[in-house]
């Protein structure tokens, strides 16, 4: 079938783009018309669809990449091996090994179909890591929803946050647990701004021998393309174009088919077989079939090596009969990978996949000319130069920076500090997330040496970062965490983004890890609106501020725009995934308090910058002076803290974040099931509840205080010691552990059952 663009005027061009669902803008349709007028023919429907995929925001980063290249991606770190250009980043782990990071969003599918959307999000991120030749070792799931107790009427076509939350958690649980990769970190955040657009981000870390790293590009002309894994069906049609437009009230009806169906029990043997074929050096290239399906994988793999490809759709294993050529070509059906293999190795590759009962089909081969030529049932259905198809347009869209006028509320100190602290502990942002965490298998593979819930058995508390020991014969570990406070980013994109990197780094340092690399999942509204893009630019600058001072790079990531609907945009949500190196996991530190009579210290100071804090929220006041960060201070404190940990001075450590110092101390006390007696200076609400950056509470082994204080000089502030079974702060807070535990442990269970 042809798309009649040669004779079409502007109005008609837009109509063609709309009717076919290709999702292309007018100026793009015009470019296509011009290209095909030189060819003296109209494009086929397959060609138009392929262009729609390749030039979508989701695949091409046409709006974000020019900005990111300018302000964020210039940091160079010696440990980096592959940065940004492939499906995942690769970073040196030790002399022989590298680790691989990938981080993505699965927002739109999860808003429509939370269970399947979240599950296939995991499927996709696993493939991104596997296609570099790596064994996945950990999954990370930061989640953002509307308030669980939301009682007002929902916008049309929107599902209740509680339904979305339980569906997403179940999807992650059922896929992640079945595929046998532990889910070790993440966050759960609630805000009105996510009611119409929940945000589901998913990250994966893998480990690979350096000599087994493989790339998403073919070897030489003559190599075969082998499609392995699941059958191709009508699920996942137009996933990327769906992700590159706003949601609306009919999205479910119109785009339900954009959500794929996941099968972890096909993925599990697919991973084994791909890794085995790679380790036996039978492959020249490997790429996952994600957004855009075959249409993106074949062309991109050939183009990345400077060649072209010929392929036929005749042998592609299908889920159903009667699929149109274009549907086969762009379907995003799950559990598929593309391999490029030199002819002598074909049989051996086939045998490996047969052993695992995983379908394995030759569909085409690499040709020297940079052309993509696809046939189906004897006809050429696509023939385009890859220079045209793969090189999408890049846009410098207009953006504006919002004005932020300072607001500092007048607020008298609270009458009852006990009541405030209990309210903070039961806030959905602070309370125990064990309802979620225990549903995920966080220790399959047996390598999770610091777990997301830690402390005395039966008295767990939240940790700062999980630690994986990825190699059997080495005590070196990978610390993993993900953070962002969207409330802050909404108030001030620059400092909010800077704070997210600060929090990631201090979480890594808290367990004894050197911050080593970052990945970002940048979730925003519609970038065609200048104010939204203005937020994006300032976020990128804020991320750069702290990352460059720490000398670590964003090695991979994802931009998700159009998280917006008729009821507005989400709060800008730059979720940051951080990986740190623990030189010897036997020296790692957890947050739970250890022993009576040990001393507690605060590293860093609270400032009167309480905009966007939990304390303001609970007291129902608004202020917009969010915490700033001084990256040099952060860097120096991390260096000193890591020295203190390696010398064995620190026996527990927890970063100060949501809820401030008082909350931090309570969480540590709960994990050790022990009380504390603490005193701070007079400005009580700031001291106890401010969420200023670059701070930790540490427990120092009795008798080692002098050595500890000498290391930190003026940055360490003595707070008190570990004693009894009550939380006692100055003369304003006096609570039993039982009261504290009930406030912190029960809220999510009450809401979710």
């Amino acid at each position: 079938m042809e798309a009649p663009v040669l004779t079409a005027d502007s109005e008609k061009l837009i109509e063609i783009s709309k009717v076919t669902g290709a999702g292309l803008e007018l100026r793009e349709m015009e470019k296509i018309a011009e290209y095909f007028s030189q060819k003296k023919r109209n494009p086929t429907d397959v060609e138009l669809q392929a262009l729609g995929q390749a030039w979508s925001e989701h695949c091409s980063y046409k709006t974000s990449m020019p900005i990111l290249k300018e302000v964020l991606l210039d940091i160079e770190a010696p440990q980096n091996m592959v940065v940004v250009e492939e499906d995942a980043g690769v970073v040196t782990f030790d002399a022989d090994h590298a680790y691989v990071i990938a981080f993505e969003s699965h927002n739109h599918p999860s808003a429509i179909e939370p269970y399947g959307g979240a599950a296939t999000g995991i499927g996709g991120i696993l493939r991104d890591v596997v296609c570099m030749g790596a064994q996945p070792v950990a999954l990370v799931d930061p989640l953002f929803f509307g308030p669980l107790d939301y009682a007002e009427s929902l916008p049309k076509g929107v599902k209740h946050p509680k339904f979305l939350f339980s569906g997403v958690v179940a999807g992650i649980r059922d896929y992640g647990n079945r595929v046998g990769i532990p889910t070790v970190a993440g966050q759960v955040f609630f805000n009105q701004g996510y009611i119409s657009n929940c945000i589901v981000n998913v990250g994966c870390i893998g480990i690979v021998r350096k000599k087994d790293i493989i790339h998403s590009r073919v070897g030489t002309p003559g190599d075969y393309f082998i499609l392995v894994g699941g059958r191709t069906g009508r699920d996942g049609i137009h996933g990327v174009t769906f992700a590159s437009a706003e949601l609306h009230e009919n999205s479910e009806h119109e785009s339900r088919s954009a959500v794929q169906v996941g099968d972890p029990i096909l993925k599990e043997p697919l991973i084994h077989a791909c890794l085995e074929a790679n380790q036996r050096k039978l492959l020249t290239g490997m790429k996952d079939l994600g957004g855009g399906g075959l249409s993106c994988a074949v062309g991109e793999m050939a183009y990345a090596a400077g060649y072209g490809a010929e392929a036929s759709l005749d042998d592609v294993p299908l889920k159903e009969k009667g699929m149109e050529s274009w549907e086969i070509w762009i379907s995003e059906s799950q559990e598929r990978m593309m391999l490029s293999v030199a002819p002598p190795n074909i049989e051996e590759v086939k045998q490996i996949f047969q052993k695992w009962d995983v379908p394995c089909t030759i569909i085409g081969k690499v040709i020297p000319e940079k052309v993509l030529r696809i046939t189906h049932q004897g006809k050429i259905i696509l023939e385009m130069e890859l220079d045209f198809l793969t090189k999408s347009p890049q846009y410098h869209r207009p953006y504006t920076a919002r004005e932020i006028t300072p607001v500092i509320p007048a607020l008298t100190p609270p009458e009852d500090y006990n009541e405030i602290l209990l309210k903070l502990l039961s806030s959905p942002f602070i309370c125990s997330k064990d309802w979620v965490i225990r549903q995920y298998d966080h220790e399959v593979r047996g390598a999770t040496v610091i777990k997301p819930l830690q402390g005395k058995i039966g008295h767990s508390t939240h940790g700062d970062a999980a630690v994986i020991k990825p190699l059997r014969n080495s005590f070196k570990g990978l610390a993993i965490t993900a953070d962002v406070n969207p409330r802050w980013v909404k108030i001030d994109p620059y400092w909010g983004a800077a704070a997210a990197v600060d929090e990631v780094c201090r979480n890594l340092a808290a367990v004894g890890a050197v911050p080593h690399s970052l990945a970002d999942c940048l979730n925003f509204g519609n970038p065609e609106k200048p104010e939204r893009l203005g937020d994006f630019v300032r976020v990128a600058k804020g991320l750069h501020l702290v990352a460059s001072a720490m000398n670590i790079s964003f090695v991979s990531g994802n931009v998700s725009f159009y998280n917006e609907s008729h009821s507005g945009a989400i709060p800008p949500t730059p979720t940051i995934l951080g990986v740190g190196i623990v030189e010897d996991i036997r020296k790692a530190v957890t947050a739970d308090l250890k022993r009576s009579k040990n001393s507690l210290y605060q590293i860093g100071e609270a400032e009167n910058e309480m905009g966007g804090s939990e304390y303001y929220r609970i007291r129902s006041v608004y202020g917009n002076q969010i915490p700033r960060t001084d990256p040099e201070k952060l860097k120096n404190r991390i260096t000193t803290l890591l020295t203190a940990i390696s010398r064995g001075l620190v026996v527990s450590c927890h970063d100060i974040s949501h809820g401030g110092l008082a909350t931090c101390i309570c969480e540590m006390a709960l994990g050790g099931n022990t009380g504390v007696t603490v005193s701070v200076s007079d400005l009580l609400d700031v001291e106890l509840f401010a969420e200023s950056n670059s701070r930790w509470v540490v427990e120092v082994e009795k008798g080692k205080e002098t050595e500890f204080e000498a290391l930190f000089e003026e940055d360490a502030h003595y707070l008190g010691d570990i004693s009894g079974k009550r939380i006692s702060i100055n003369d304003v807070i006096d609570l039993s552990l039982r009261e504290v535990r009930t406030a912190w442990e029960t809220p999510l269970w009450r809401l979710m059952g």
Partner: protein, 262 residues
Amino acid sequence: MGNPIVEVDGMINICILRIEGTNCEQETYDAFLELGAQPELVHLKELTPQNLFDYQCLMIPGGFSSGDYVRAGAIFAARIRSNLISALREYVDTGYPVGGICNGFQILVELGLLPRVSEHPEACLATNDSARFECRPTLLKLENHCAFTQKMDIGSVYEIPSAHAEGKFVSPLTEELMGNGQVIFRYCNPEGEYAGYPWNPNGSQYNIAGIANEQGNVFGVMPHPERAFTIYQNQDWTRRTSTDGAHGRLVFESVLEYARRL
């Protein structure tokens, strides 16, 4: 990690059986390797009634074999049944040790090898009382010995974590099993008492976590000893002052000891 502490005279070959969805095979493999045995990951398709007898121990690791979309373990068991069941019964009769961890336990029950040889399952690992998958540390008290526990002490409490959605042991034979020493591990609290949820994470009858056949050479357990092979896998290891307490390791040491004496 470290040197193997078990000195083995002849190599002990361990078959670690897997199909699609088996996912605790690598850590089970590593545990045996660490102790100086010769483990092998064997796909069900590669195991025959003949080569089964090349191995001195058969292990069925945890996971979600075939997805466990019907009763957990049922499909894996049906596939074993189709060509291996008589060889497997002979293997058991000969006295070779057979162990099933988590999904492996479910499979041994579905196969009719636990609690005793039967054509149809005589027990069930039912959905947890909480109706959801739960991953948490659990404490087990050793009640009776079997081929997998000789290096442990009856009455002692061992820290071995659980992670399952279907682990509630239910059987019409439970009273009998309790009476004749086939109950090997029971869930307990830190004081060693048979306590309720969350110490008993699934609602098992009599807090049963693991059982053996009457001969003591077929053993099934829901918690994961391979996840307690070093102390650094325990939730609370940063609280400890000694490096003792890698309790899962004892299970592997015990069965190697048993296999060596065969």
